[in-house]
């Protein structure tokens, strides 16, 4: 059984089918890429998985649990974390605090614990800070710890978003165009980072606009166009699929 | 009075009240539609309308013999002048207090608007004192002549109620023409839909927003004048409650929706009149504000508004 199974997933906005009949398996330990032209419905798939939208049809099963219509915070607690296509950091909180917030799903301190600074709360806070610093180390962000998130260079903000997502110890990480807006060198570095995330034991579902970028690191590639899956399989096969070429380059190419 | 007559009596009172609320509500709804700001000071512009009317009237030598067409002429001039002055105040408020904050976090302009409201109230308090100010009995029969009551099927209709209804409906018709039949109206609707796109189409955004404030404030000015006639008094704090009730009307109708504001205004007026008849005068604001909360909780888009999904 796969870690994440999407079965005949559909989402309609009014009369428009943003995602239509999508079936997709993510095996534990793999890097799966979701690619396709702009407006193909890739981000909608993420929004369905993380509970921003409820599916119109089909099912989302993660580790034997159906996620359909589950609230975002519950999805995160269930073991899925994500980043956003347009960076959504907590701009006016420190870099360290951003990562600490990311740990929220694994924290247990009640409001009373927090208010009274019980031993439990202080111990947990120390642990969370320690883990957050580790993540900052891993992503090369240590020197930015006390800066505001918004003051980081763009590429670093992308990294911080991934660090923040990893703070919740997810089994599955959804990355929504982590390379968007970065230069080719940064993109390559990011892809290496994605591989090292996988080596930490985190399965990755990756959205990317640029097909060539993901070919090297993906175990499987799914191609969406107008909400429909038009091809899937190992990168080499998908790359030469005529329907994929048509979707990317237009008819007659 | 028989039960049914009493009901219709209150219905007419409610419609008259509603006419005034509708006129104020239009200003809230138009401004919200175009800049997404709850113009908290708008209710006080309405009070300002009756204060301006009073000051203009004080300049005109009126006597109890002034009557007939002279009164109509004077009334029309006063309405137009009061509306104009209120409109200018509305534009000034937008220019001085809101424009700078157009891209600030949402809290900021709302807090400023509350501040402007307090300032206006206090200026009016300094201007005409802390007690109720009498408003001339300014009716077609002549100055100081008690107003006529037409009796239709056992229900008495006060002349002043009739004036309020007629004037407010005329003002609303004029607004409809302006919004749906003129170039300015088209610009306003375009700016409300998508400010950036409107700008790309060559629409002067600042100008259009200023005009929206002008028109909204002018309508409040008209409401201020007729409220003076209707109640026979005015008071520097009137605008706070009236404004909040008119805002309720705008929300009830669907904020941003011009027809909705009119509908909501009349409904709130009728609710208020019926509450004071069948429950008690002192519960009217509780009832109206409960409606406000219930509408916002259960149908934030109002009766005629459309649900707009938030973008992710």
């Amino acid at each position: 059984m796969a870690l994440l199974e999407l079965r005949a997933l559909c989402k309609n906005f009014g009369g428009l089918a943003a995602v239509n009949n999508l079936t997709l398996d993510v095996q534990a330990g793999s890097i799966i890429s979701l690619i396709g032209p702009n407006g193909a419905g890739k981000s909608t798939v993420f929004n369905l998985i993380t509970g921003i939208y409820a599916p119109t049809g089909g099912s989302i099963v993660f580790e034997h649990r159906t996620l359909n219509g589950m609230r975002p915070d519950r999805v995160t607690a269930a073991g899925i974390a994500r980043t956003f296509q347009n960076i959504r950091l907590f701009s006016f909180m420190s870099v360290l605090e951003n990562v600490m917030v990311g740990r929220n799903a694994r924290m247990h301190a009640s409001i009373a614990d927090s208010a009274l600074r019980t031993r439990r709360a202080t111990r947990e806070d120390r642990e969370v800070e320690h883990r957050a610093r580790e993540l900052l180390d891993f992503f090369g962000l240590t020197s930015y710890g006390s800066e505001w998130a918004r003051n980081l260079p763009y590429g670093m903000q992308r990294r911080l978003e991934i660090a923040r997502a990893l703070a919740s110890d997810p089994r599955l990480l959804l990355l929504d165009e982590p390379g968007a807006g970065t230069n080719p060198a940064e993109k390559q570095a990011l892809m290496r980072l994605v591989q090292s995330v996988r080596e930490r034991g985190v399965t990755v579902l990756l959205i990317e606009h640029d097909m060539h970028l993901v070919m090297g690191i993906s175990d499987a590639v799914h191609v969406l166009d107008y909400g429909e899956q038009i091809a899937c399989g190992p990168p080499d096969r998908v790359r030469h699929d005529p329907r994929v070429i048509e979707a990317y380059l237009g008819k007659g190419a | 009075m028989p039960e049914i007559h009493q009901f219709f009596q209150q219905l007419i009172n409610g419609i008259a009240l509603g006419g005034m609320y509708a006129l104020i509500a239009l200003g809230y709804t138009m401004v919200y539609g175009i800049v997404e700001l709850i113009n908290f000071a708008h209710g006080d512009v309405y009070t300002l309308g009756s204060y301006f009317s009073l000051s203009i009237l004080a300049l005109i030598p009126l006597s109890r013999y002034t009557g007939g067409w002279q009164l109509w002429l004077i009334a029309s001039c006063v309405i137009v002048l009061a509306a104009l002055l209120c409109g200018i105040v509305g534009v000034l408020i937008e220019r001085l207090a809101y424009r700078r904050l157009r891209n600030a976090p949402r809290l900021a302009p709302l807090i400023t608007a509350i501040g402007v409201s307090l300032i206006l109230e206090n200026l009016m308090q300094i201007w005409k004192g802390t007690s109720e100010v009498p408003f001339p009995q300014f009716l077609p029969g002549g100055l100081g002549v008690p107003d006529n009551v037409f009796v239709v099927a056992g229900v008495g209709i006060h002349e002043r109620a009739l004036i309020v209804v007629v004037v407010s409906i005329l003002a609303m018709l004029a607004l409809n023409l302006l919004v749906f039949r003129t170039k300015l109206g088209t610009a306003m609707r375009a700016t409300a839909q998508d400010r950036d796109a409107a700008q790309l189409m060559g629409i002067n955004i600042n100008g259009t927003i200023a005009w929206t404030f002008f028109i909204g404030a002018a309508l409040a000015g008209v409401a201020g004048f007729i409220s003076g006639i209707y109640y026979g008094t005015t008071f520097f704090l009137n605008g706070y409650q009236a404004g909040l009730k008119a805002f309720t009307a705008a929300v009830l109708g669907g904020i941003g929706n011009i027809t909705g504001a009119m509908l909501g205004g009349f409904l709130i007026g009728i609710v208020e009149a019926m509450t004071s008849q069948y429950i008690s005068d002192q519960w009217t604001s509780v009832v109206v504000f409960s409606i406000l909360i219930l509408i916002l909780v259960f149908r934030p888009s109002g009766l005629l508004g459309e649900q707009v999904p938030e973008k992710v």
Partner: protein, 346 residues
């Protein structure tokens, strides 16, 4: 220095009643303490969590009337003052929950209006249900606290110390909250609610917690208010009071405790001490110089003009307030200072 300064201030404040023997001054200081507590409560909601609540005085009223009902001749119930602090906080907090539960999902400005409507309804209901509440006259003869056999009575000095003690405890609690799981959650919600939800924060619960905790602070302020005055009436809890609290918060700087205290102290002293005193001076001067205008002047009625001017000018020219948190300053000036490096406040 950073650790010494607060200690110096606290010690200095403890000596104030020994240096200033004027009872009306001490009373004004104590009332200012009440405003500090109210501003603390509103700061959780507006400053930390970014939710605008406009009818905040309603929770103040609920706290005050809860104590008035349970410790006065009104119903012949005379519960002890000290546990009632907690009870009234809980009742106000509960009302916060009841109002917040259906409304907190509304957009910011709608929420502001809902709370404003609530703020209108509460005093009106208190006024109308005269069988229970005493109507517009309110409830008199409310019990005053006793401690180890010492009755507080109408002597303002013990109230001054009580406010000081409760403010210090509150400061400790608020500082803990700010630097904890829930505090970070609140700020994350203020910054980006959707992203906050994706951190596993139950945004509804966190917002409700902010709302009812803020209301609870107002509840505590209500008990102290009712006990010190020994009487409550609906007129003390209207929109004007809500505006005063908001003005304190805006003036000092939202989201930052030193700022909140500064704002509340300035507004409080202005309201309870400076304007009444100045009115006296001007009137006395007017009487001696036989200037009728001055003799009958009442500066108190202009305080809302002052608050209005504060709200407008601060939002336009210094939106972060007098003593801002580093965070809020940059946020509110985001347009002007984009990209400027700065340190986050910890």
């Amino acid at each position: 220095m950073k650790r010494v300064l607060p200690l110096v201030i606290i010690v200095a404040l403890a000596f104030v009643p020994l240096l200033d023997r004027n009872a009306s001054h001490i009373s004004a200081y104590a009332d200012t303490g009440g405003l500090v507590l109210l501003a603390f409560g509103l700061n959780i909601i507006v400053g930390y969590t970014g939710l605008l609540a406009l009818g905040f005085a309603a929770f103040f009223a609920i706290g005050a009337y809860t104590y008035a009902f349970l410790a006065s001749p009104q119903f012949g119930i005379h519960l002890n003052f000290w546990p009632m602090i907690g009870v009234s906080a809980a009742v106000a907090g509960l009302f916060g929950l009841v109002l917040g539960a259906p409304t907190l999902r509304l957009r910011g400005d709608y929420l502001a209006i809902v709370t404003l409507g609530f703020g209108e309804i509460v005093p009106q209901v208190l006024q109308n249900l005269d069988k229970w509440t005493g109507g517009p006259d309110g409830i008199a003869g409310i019990d005053q606290p006793r401690l180890f056999g010492f009755g507080f009575g109408f002597n303002p000095v013990p109230y001054y110390y009580l406010y000081l003690a409760i403010i210090l405890v509150s400061l400790w609690l608020l500082n803990n909250l700010r630097h904890s799981r829930i505090g970070r959650s609140w700020m994350a919600i203020r910054e980006d609610e959707l992203a906050a939800a994706h951190m596993g924060i139950n945004t509804t619960t966190a917002k409700l917690a902010a709302f009812s905790l803020g209301a609870a602070f107002a509840g505590v302020a209500g008990v102290l208010f009712a006990a010190k005055l020994s009487t409550v009436s609906p007129s003390g809890f209207d929109f004007n009071t809500s505006v005063m609290i908001l003005a304190a918060l805006v003036l000092g700087g939202m989201g930052n405790l030193p700022g909140v205290i500064t704002g509340a102290v300035i507004i409080g002293l202005l309201n309870f001490l400076i304007l009444p005193q100045a009115t006296n001076w001007v009137q006395t001067l007017g009487q001696q110089m036989h200037i009728a205008v001055l003799a009958s002047v009442d500066l108190n009625q202009y305080r809302f003009l002052v608050y209005g001017i504060i709200l407008v000018t601060v939002m336009l020219f210094r939106p972060e307030g007098l003593i801002p948190s580093a965070t809020r300053r940059a946020e509110l000036h985001a347009e002007a200072s984009s990209g400027a490096p700065a340190q986050a406040d910890g």
